[in-house]
C-alpha cells in the first residue's frame, strides 16, 4: 500500500510530549511508522504548518433517534443554512445545528477530526444508531448506550449486586455494539415516566427506591469491575438550573475513593460531561452567576476526574438530551416546539430548539462559564473541548471555541456584542482572565486528552509509530502566529491536510477522498451468569415490546467494526 511522509511541520503530540518540534511523520499501510521504514514515499510539505494527530471528540450527539428527531422536526434548520454540494464530495450536505449524516462526516474531516463518540444511544434504538453510522462518512464512530435509568441497572444496584450488573452491562454492550457507560440524569429520566424528576442526588427514584448517588457509585464500581476502556460518562442531575454547582460538586465527590482499573491507560473513574451546564450559582435567572471557579478548583485537585466544556457558541441550535424532564422544563421557558421520546425500561429523551442570543444575559453568562472551564483548567489532558453538539452549539464551532481559548482579543471582540456586558462581567470572572492557551494545550484538549480518557490512546490521538495514520495539518505557523484571531479560526475550520488511515482525505480544506469509516465497540467477556440471563428473559417476555432475539443488533447491521476486547474471566 501507499507510503507518505509529512515533512518539516511543527509537530504537537502530547501523548509523546512533543511540543512543536520540527519533525517528519512517516506513514505506511495506514499506520504511522519510523521514517526509516519508507522506501519511496509521496511527500507532503508541511513547512511552516502545525501537525497534530486527527481530532478525537469525546462527546457529541451525531447519530441516533433524538438527533434524527431534531433533523426531522426542524426544516427551518436547513433553510438558507445549507451549503451547496461540494463537487468533490459524494453526497449533499444539509442542515446547520443538526447536520445530515453526510455533512457531519465531511465537516468533522474538514476540521481534522477522525473519531467521534456518540454521547447517548438508547439501547432499544441501536439498529437506528448503526444505520446512521453507516451513512456518516470518513470518521470513526463509537456510541455509548445509556444506563442511568435502565430498569436492570436500577434493580441490580439497589440490591448492591455489582457482579450481576456487570454481567448485564457486558451483555448490553454486546447487544447494542456499544462503547461505554453513559449516564444521563441518573434516576431523573425514569421518574419522568411519571412526569417527575429527581430534585438532587439523594432524591430516590419513584418505585425503584434508589438514589441518583447510589446509581452513579454503583456504575463506577461496575465500570472498574469490568475494566472498560472508558470510564463512567456522566451527565449529572439538575442540569441547566441556577445554583446547580452544588449538585455538580456532590456528583464529582461520588468518585472519591475510586481508582481506575484498566489496561487502556485511562486514569479517571468519572468523566463529567458538558460541565458548563452544571456550574451555575444564584437561585433564580435574575441572580444567575458563574460558579466555575468552585467546580474547577475541585476538578483540578482530583486526578481521577475528567471533564469536557459544553461551550455555548451563541447560535440558534437544537437541544437534545436523554434528560427528558429537563427538555420539558426548557420548553416551558422558551415555549418553542417540544419533542419527547420515552423509551421503555431504558431512558427518556427530549428535543427543543434553542436560541443562545448575545442579547440575553443568561446566554452570555453561559458563554463565559464555558470558557472559564477551559481557562481555569490546570491539566488540559483532563479538560476537553466540546459544545455538547448540538446542545450548546454545533460542533462546527470548535474552531471558534479554540480561538476564544487561544486569544483574549477574540474573547473581547465577542463580548463587545453583548447587550448585558456589564452584568455578564459582574456575574463571571471571564474579564479578569488573561490566560491564552497554546497549540500544545489545544492538542491536549482535542485529541491526546480525549483519546486517553476514552482508553483508545494506543490507536487514536497521537503520532507514535504503530498508531493509526490519522494526521491533521493546519496552516498555522507556531513561530509566527497570526495577529488576527480570525485567521486561527479559519485554519482550524479547514485543515490544510487530513490523512485518515493513511489516505489523503482532505486537501486545502476540501474533502477529496472518502475512506471507509469504522464502528468502534467494546466486547467484554464475563463468566456465564444464569440469574442475569433469566432476568433478561423475563423482562423481554413481559415488559419489552420487542422480542429478545430481535433486540440484539444483527451482525449484518454492524458496519466495518473495530472491536476492543476486554476479558474479565482471567
Amino acid at each position: 500500500m501507499s507510503e507518505l511522509i509529512i515533512k518539516n511541520g511543527f509537530v504537537f503530540d502530547p501523548l509523546q510530549g512533543i511540543k512543536g518540534d520540527r519533525m517528519d511523520i512517516a506513514v505506511k499501510d495506514g499506520k504511522i511508522v519510523e521514517t526509516s521504514a519508507l522506501s519511496s514515499p509521496k511527500t507532503i510539505d508541511a513547512t511552516g504548518m502545525t501537525v497534530m494527530a486527527g481530532g478525537v471528540d469525546i462527546h457529541s450527539h451525531v447519530v441516533g433517534p433524538k438527533v434524527n428527531v431534531g433533523r426531522l422536526f426542524r426544516p427551518e434548520d436547513k433553510l438558507f443554512k445549507s451549503p451547496h454540494k461540494s463537487p468533490t464530495c459524494n453526497r449533499m450536505e444539509m442542515g446547520f445545528s443538526v447536520p445530515s449524516t453526510f455533512k457531519t462526516g465531511y465537516d468533522y474531516a474538514r476540521m481534522g477530526y477522525v473519531f467521534v463518540n456518540e454521547a447517548a444511544m438508547p439501547p432499544l434504538h441501536s439498529p437506528h444508531v448503526h444505520e446512521e453510522i453507516r451513512d456518516t462518512p470518513i470518521i470513526d464512530n463509537a456510541a455509548m448506550p445509556v444506563f442511568g435509568n435502565n430498569w436492570f441497572t436500577l434493580e441490580y444496584l439497589k440490591n448492591n449486586e455489582i457482579e450481576n450488573n456487570a454481567a448485564y452491562t457486558a451483555w448490553l454492550l454486546r447487544a447494542t455494539r456499544g462503547f461505554g457507560l453513559k449516564v444521563v440524569n441518573p434516576g431523573g429520566s425514569e421518574a419522568w415516566g411519571w412526569g417527575l424528576n429527581c430534585a438532587n442526588i439523594h432524591d430516590p427514584v419513584p418505585y425503584f427506591d434508589i438514589t441518583p448517588a447510589e446509581i452513579v457509585k454503583g456504575l463506577i464500581e461496575t465500570n472498574e469491575f469490568l475494566g472498560l476502556p472508558h470510564s463512567v460518562h456522566l451527565h449529572c442531575n439538575n442540569l441547566g438550573n441556577p445554583g446547580n454547582y452544588v449538585d455538580t460538586l456532590e456528583s464529582l465527590k461520588l468518585a472519591e475513593g475510586y481508582a481506575p482499573k484498566n489496561d487502556f491507560g485511562r486514569e479517571q473513574v468519572l468523566h463529567l460531561t458538558h460541565l458548563q451546564f452544571h456550574s451555575y450559582g444564584g437561585d433564580s435567572w435574575g441572580n444567575f452567576e458563574s460558579r466555575t471557579k468552585d467546580v474547577m478548583d475541585y476538578v483540578n485537585a482530583h486526578d481521577n476526574i475528567t471533564v469536557d466544556m459544553g461551550q455555548v457558541t451563541l447560535d440558534e441550535t437544537t437541544t437534545m438530551t436523554a434528560d427528558g424532564p429537563f427538555e420539558h422544563h426548557l420548553c416551558s421557558l422558551n415555549h418553542l416546539k417540544w419533542a419527547n421520546v420515552d423509551v421503555e425500561l431504558e431512558t427518556a429523551a427530549g428535543v427543543v430548539p434553542y436560541i443562545y442570543s448575545p442579547k440575553v444575559k443568561v446566554c452570555t453568562i453561559q458563554w463565559a462559564v464555558g470558557l472559564e472551564i477551559g481557562l481555569y483548567a490546570k491539566d488540559p489532558m483532563r479538560t476537553f473541548i466540546t459544545t455538547d453538539h448540538p446542545n450548546a452549539g454545533p460542533f462546527t464551532r470548535y474552531p471558534q471555541v479554540i480561538t476564544w481559548l487561544m486569544s483574549r482579543a477574540a474573547r473581547d471582540e465577542t463580548m463587545k456584542t453583548f447587550k448585558w456586558l456589564e452584568r455578564t462581567i459582574d456575574a463571571t470572572s471571564i474579564d479578569s482572565i488573561d490566560r491564552e492557551l497554546g497549540l500544545y494545550e489545544i492538542a491536549q484538549m482535542t485529541r491526546a486528552g480525549p483519546a486517553k480518557a476514552l482508553g483508545i490512546s494506543n490507536t487514536y490521538g497521537g503520532l507514535a509509530p504503530g498508531m493509526d495514520a490519522d494526521i491533521a495539518v493546519y496552516a498555522l505557523n507556531p513561530e509566527d502566529m497570526p495577529s488576527d484571531p480570525a485567521m486561527i479560526e479559519k485554519a482550524f475550520s479547514r485543515c490544510a491536510w487530513l490523512i485518515k488511515d493513511g489516505v489523503v482525505t482532505v486537501r486545502d480544506g476540501e474533502v477529496v477522498e472518502e475512506p471507509a469509516k469504522r464502528t468502534v465497540w467494546v466486547d467484554v467477556k464475563v463468566p456465564e451468569n444464569a440469574q442475569v440471563q433469566r432476568d433478561i428473559y423475563e423482562h423481554f417476555l413481559r415488559h419489552y415490546s420487542v422480542k429478545l432475539d430481535n433486540y440484539s443488533l444483527f451482525e449484518e447491521h454492524l458496519h466495518n467494526p473495530r472491536v476492543i476486547e476486554v476479558d474479565t474471566t482471567q
Partner: protein, 456 residues
C-alpha cells in the same frame, strides 16, 4: 421436516408485530403455517408462495401487452428514463426496508429527482403539525407498562391495526399495569360507532369534521375555563368527565389516525392534539402517537431525515441542495400540475391511491412500477420490475409507528432470479453513473474544484 422460524416480523401494518412463527416446508420453498399474525399479516405470507408470482421484469410493448425482459435490460431502461427526465418523481416506500430507501435516495440525488413517500397522502399533515409544535411521544412499551388511560382519536385499530390494542394499549399487562384491561380507562373519539368504540369505556361521538372544536374545548377545560353547553355534538358534562379522567391519569397516550389527518382541519387537528398533550403534561404524564399505516412508512421519514433533513416531499432536482415544500413538492400536487415527466412507483400503489387526474397526468410519461405483486400501478406501467417481499424473502430494518427500529428476517428465498429493492436501486445507480460519465466524457470537462469553498 418442516422448519419453524420464530421472532419473525410482519410486513403489514405499523404495529410491526415481531412475534410471528412461520413454518416453512422441508425444501424451504413453501410457507405452510403462520402463527400469531392477524388475518391480513397471515395472508401476506401465504400469498408469497401460494400464488403465481411475476419473476421477470415486464416491458410494455407497442401493442399494449407486456413482454418479459431481463433485469439488466430493466435496469438500463430505468436508468435511461431517469437520465433523460427533467423532473422524475420517485414515490412510495411504505412497504420496503430502510436499506432500499437509502439506495433509492442515492438514485434520486444522482438523477435529480423528487423523492416522496406515502406520508404525502397520509400522515403528511402530522409532519406539518410536528414541524410547528413538536411531538411529545414515547415507545409503545412505555404505554404498555405505564398507561392507565388510552385515547383513540379518529383511529380504528380494530380494523386498521388489528393487534395494536392487544400488544400495546388496551389489553396487555405491563410492569406497572399488572391488571391489564381492568386497570385502564379507554376513551374513543370518533364520529362512527366503530369496532374500536365497542371496547371503549367512553365513546364520544364527535360531529364529523368538528374535532378541532372538541380539542379546543378540552384545552379550555384543562386550563380551567368555561365551555358552552355543547361542543361538536358532545355535552359539556361528558367533556368535563373525560378531561377529569385525563388529568387524573398516571400516564396516558393519545393515539390518533386519519380521522384527524384527513378531516376538516387536517394538520391543525394534529397541532391542537399536540397542544393538548403539552397542556396535560403540566399536570401528569401524557404522550401522543400517530397511528402510522404501513409497517415501514415511518422508515423513509427516518432515513431521509438523516440523509437530507426532511422526512418527505424532497425536491432533489437541483442535485446539490435539497428542498421541501409540501404543496409545491408533494407528489399529488406535482402530478396534478403535470410537472413530472417520469414516475417510479415503489412499494405502494399510486394507481389505486392517487386521484384519477393525477394518475392521468403521470400516465402520459414513462411510469415504472417496482413491486413484488401485480397491483393497479403495475397494470398501467410501462415497466414493472418485480422484487422480493421484505419481511418474507428479504431481511432488513423497518421502523415501527413509534420510531423503534425492528430488524426483520427472511423466512424463504425470493423466486429464483428475483432481486431486492436495495440491489435493484444500487444497480440503477451504477448504470445512471455510467450514463453521466459517458456524457461528461463527451462534453466539456466539468469545472475543477477550486480549493477552499468561499468563506462559508
Amino acid at each position: 421436516m418442516p422448519k419453524k422460524i420464530e421472532n419473525v416480523g410482519c410486513p403489514y401494518c405499523g404495529v410491526c408485530c415481531d412475534d410471528l412463527v412461520v413454518t416453512v416446508s422441508d425444501d424451504g420453498k413453501q410457507i405452510l403455517e403462520v402463527e400469531n399474525a392477524c388475518a391480513i399479516g397471515n395472508q401476506i405470507f401465504h400469498h408469497a408462495t401460494g400464488s403465481e408470482r411475476v419473476k421477470l421484469p415486464r416491458l410494455r410493448q407497442p401493442d399494449g401487452t407486456y413482454k418479459d425482459i431481463s433485469y439488466d435490460e430493466a435496469v438500463d431502461y430505468a436508468a435511461k428514463v431517469l437520465y433523460n427526465a427533467k423532473k422524475p418523481l420517485i414515490y412510495g416506500f411504505g412497504s420496503t426496508n430502510c436499506e432500499g430507501m437509502a439506495a433509492a435516495a442515492k438514485v434520486a440525488e444522482t438523477a435529480g429527482a423528487v423523492l416522496d413517500n406515502c406520508a404525502s397522502i397520509c400522515h403528511g399533515s402530522s409532519f406539518l403539525a410536528i414541524f410547528d409544535n413538536g411531538y411529545p411521544s414515547c415507545t409503545l412499551g412505555e404505554t404498555k407498562n405505564r398507561a392507565d388511560v388510552i385515547v383513540y382519536w379518529g383511529a380504528n385499530p380494530a380494523h386498521a391495526h388489528p393487534r395494536h390494542m392487544s400488544r400495546y394499549s388496551i389489553f396487555p399487562r405491563g410492569f406497572f399495569t399488572g391488571k391489564g384491561h381492568k386497570s385502564r380507562k379507554i376513551v374513543v373519539i370518533d364520529p362512527r360507532h366503530t369496532d374500536t368504540a365497542q371496547v371503549a369505556d367512553i365513546h364520544l361521538q364527535v360531529k364529523q369534521g368538528h374535532d378541532y372544536e372538541l380539542f379546543d374545548a378540552f384545552r379550555a377545560v384543562v386550563r380551567g375555563h368555561e365551555i358552552p353547553e355543547e361542543v361538536a355534538g358532545i355535552k359539556r358534562e361528558r367533556i368535563l368527565e373525560v378531561v377529569e379522567i385525563m388529568k387524573k391519569a398516571r400516564f396516558g397516550t393519545i393515539f390518533y389516525g386519519m380521522g384527524l389527518c384527513h378531516s376538516d382541519g387536517r394538520n391543525h387537528n394534529v397541532d391542537i392534539a399536540i397542544s393538548l398533550t403539552r397542556d396535560l403534561n403540566d399536570y401528569t404524564k401524557w404522550t401522543i402517537m400517530a397511528m402510522r399505516g404501513h409497517y415501514n412508512i415511518t422508515g423513509p421519514g427516518a432515513v431521509w431525515s438523516w440523509q437530507y433533513g426532511f422526512p418527505y416531499c424532497l425536491d432533489l432536482t437541483k442535485k446539490d441542495i435539497a428542498h421541501m415544500n409540501p404543496g409545491e413538492t408533494s407528489s399529488v400536487d406535482l402530478a396534478m400540475r403535470d410537472e413530472v415527466d417520469a414516475f417510479i412507483n415503489i412499494g405502494t400503489d399510486a394507481g389505486a391511491h392517487f386521484p384519477i387526474e393525477a394518475v392521468k397526468h403521470l400516465r402520459k410519461h414513462p411510469w415504472i412500477t417496482i413491486d413484488p405483486n401485480i397491483c393497479m400501478a403495475s397494470e398501467i406501467s410501462d415497466l414493472h420490475i418485480p422484487v422480493g417481499i421484505v419481511g418474507v424473502e428479504v431481511p432488513g430494518i423497518v421502523y415501527r409507528m413509534d420510531n423503534v427500529p425492528i430488524q426483520y428476517r427472511k423466512v424463504i428465498d425470493p423466486p429464483e432470479g428475483v432481486i431486492s429493492d436495495e440491489e435493484l436501486f444500487e444497480r440503477i445507480h451504477k448504470r445512471l453513473s455510467e450514463l453521466e460519465a459517458e456524457e461528461a466524457a463527451k462534453g466539456p470537462a466539468k469545472a475543477a474544484p477550486e480549493g477552499v469553498r468561499a468563506e462559508e
